[in-house]
Subunit: 117 residues, 2 copies
Amino acid sequence: MSVELELSPKTKRASGAPCCEPVVFPDVDREQALRLAEVAKALGDPIRLQLVDVLRKHAGKVCVCELVALFDIAQPTLSHHLKKLRDAGIVDSERRGVWAYYYVLPAALDELSAWLA
Amino acid sequence: MSVELELSPKTKRASGAPCCEPVVFPDVDREQALRLAEVAKALGDPIRLQLVDVLRKHAGKVCVCELVALFDIAQPTLSHHLKKLRDAGIVDSERRGVWAYYYVLPAALDELSAWLA
DNA sequence: AGATTGCATCTACGAACGTCGATGGATACG
DNA sequence: CGTATCCATCGACGTTCGTAGATGCAATCT
């Protein structure tokens, strides 16, 4: 009732006490935020983080059958986690006969690392 | 039928074709994985990641009323995200009168950064 | 050829998440 | 005082996530 309609929400500060500098920062690479959050989200599970850790420490490629032995979760669950990591661009896989070998794609982790640095 | 029952699942490899080196890596700091995943999970949302980005670029402390203006989400939702970041130990807050000011606690991000490096 | 093994996909379901509106407490202003 | 503002919490809703079992396919061994 009887409100000043012309004022934008931003200027409608408390009657006479500014809380801080008028503006903080306009934006923060909205596009990159989506990408970084996707990678961070993929790392946001202890098992996936350990998976990445194992794969990173093994510069080479690691067979899924070995990973299954390390974590006490069912094989389909492990496959699901690996798919999450693959979708996030953190790892990739390669089939050699019966076995699938996974390895780290450094680009995604590097981007996150650069943002954190 | 006539299967060797004494063998543990690990040693029951396919009859004569090893998939890779016998063992990958025993463990990976199980405790630290939980901590790192918690931080990564908190960063696994574009809004929270941008929030952290804004707070980091502002070495000082930022009022919530300014943050509300930057992102077009409702104020309770923003408060919810800030709580997530606080619970993960990424940020902390301080009340000054009516306003709440948020700032980054570098330790959590540093730990994640160190692991990625 | 038949059996076995390794892996991915599909389905299912309980748990957790993201968002919002409404409420309430604390502080500052008139 | 009374009122307005700022912020956190609560309740509710729909969506997504994490896990497991079942199924299916490909490749290897006997």
